[in-house]
Symmetry: C2
């Protein structure tokens, strides 16, 4: 295998491993946050989102197995950063949990979706698009958060602060993961020019800002 | 509608409501207990069991909707007893969580399965059989518990005590639910003779004893 092909393979496994462990922790976090729901239907809606993340994990695990890769080994390097992210951002209220689900998953979706474009492997790209694109349930999050802010406008400032903290922690831990596992960064650097990279980060940032506007949280 | 038909309808709704809320709380409990798993694969196995319970809930909710019944109203009478059961039996260890999943679901499955035989409504009976029969994952529970006891025989006594407490709390809360909602009991009394009732409880008890033997926990 050429160095570039080997790099692409390692980067692919890293991407799948990070996504897979992300799905498990997302299940865990959403299932926990669902216990704070004000109604049974709200609880079930977040439980259903959690179950969707687990279904994504199952597909990623199957795909890794097809590649001959042990899913636990692929996930292992990302356990530290992802656990640290969740430990640093435990929601204290139902609404904080919803904002975390929406903002956190949104950034992860955009970022990994962009990075996946640099891979060669078409089935992997297709799978990543699928597990990241399946967002049928997020309408309920937007509905609940905007409804709560309409009823109590002071919430907007507090939740905006919370969202900034989420982004800050996500950046910190992404950086930490990138230092330990640099194949994805190397792949993007090898295959993309600076303008592409700047474009990538701009799109991720713009999409985040748009989500903040959608939630009724002032961007900054 | 005749009195007997009306009783059967109320009993059917109660059965579906109790099962539906049971599935939601089972999801919640198993998702929480999964955080104590010793390995990622064990965690995922219990998360998958939790997701299966949620899928059952979704089918029960759809069936209630087809009957023109609001699922939250159907579940409401069983919220108190089921919440109380779970609050009184929070597992402190991974193994206690597994025993609870196995023993608790087993008794619920046997009991509701027996009661469902007294209903007239064939689609409901079929659905109840399906959501109760889907036990493909419990092999993993038996495997983990018997493995742990083989490695540390002293666990058997502690886990047997825990199982007895689970059964005691389940009986207490079932009795409480039966006092508040007596349609199921009335239906069984109306349609079954004493010998049938005794047979029903004996089968449920025998199946529980058999599960304790399967787990390597001495019956008593």
């Amino acid at each position: 295998m050429s160095d570039s092909a080997e790099l692409a393979r390692v980067a692919t496994i890293d991407l799948l491993g990070a996504l897979a462990y992300g799905e498990i922790t997302a299940f865990e976090r959403m299932a926990q946050d669902a216990t704070m729901a004000p109604t049974i239907d709200d609880k079930v809606a977040l439980q259903e989102l959690a179950a969707l993340e687990l279904a994504h994990f199952q597909r990623l695990r199957a795909h890794l197995a097809e590649m001959g890769v042990d899913h636990t080994e692929a996930m292992d390097p990302f356990k530290g950063p992802l656990d640290a992210f969740h430990e640093a951002t435990v929601p204290k209220t139902w609404l904080e949990g919803l904002v975390k689900a929406y903002v956190g998953d949104g950034i992860a979706r955009d970022f990994y979706g962009e990075v996946a474009q640099f891979l060669d492997d078409e089935p992997t790209k297709e799978l990543v698009r699928e597990v990241l694109g399946d967002t049928g349930h997020v309408g309920f999050v937007v509905d609940r958060v905007t409804g709560a802010i309409a009823a109590e406008p002071a919430l907007a400032g507090r939740l905006a602060l919370w969202a900034r903290r989420l982004v800050g922690e996500a950046l910190t831990q992404t950086q930490r993961a990138a230092v330990e596992r640099d194949a994805l960064i190397d792949l993007v650097s090898e295959r993309g020019d600076l303008a592409e990279l700047i474009g990538l980060f701009k799109r991720v940032t713009d999409a985040h800002t748009q989500r903040m506007v959608t939630l009724g949280l002032t961007p900054n």
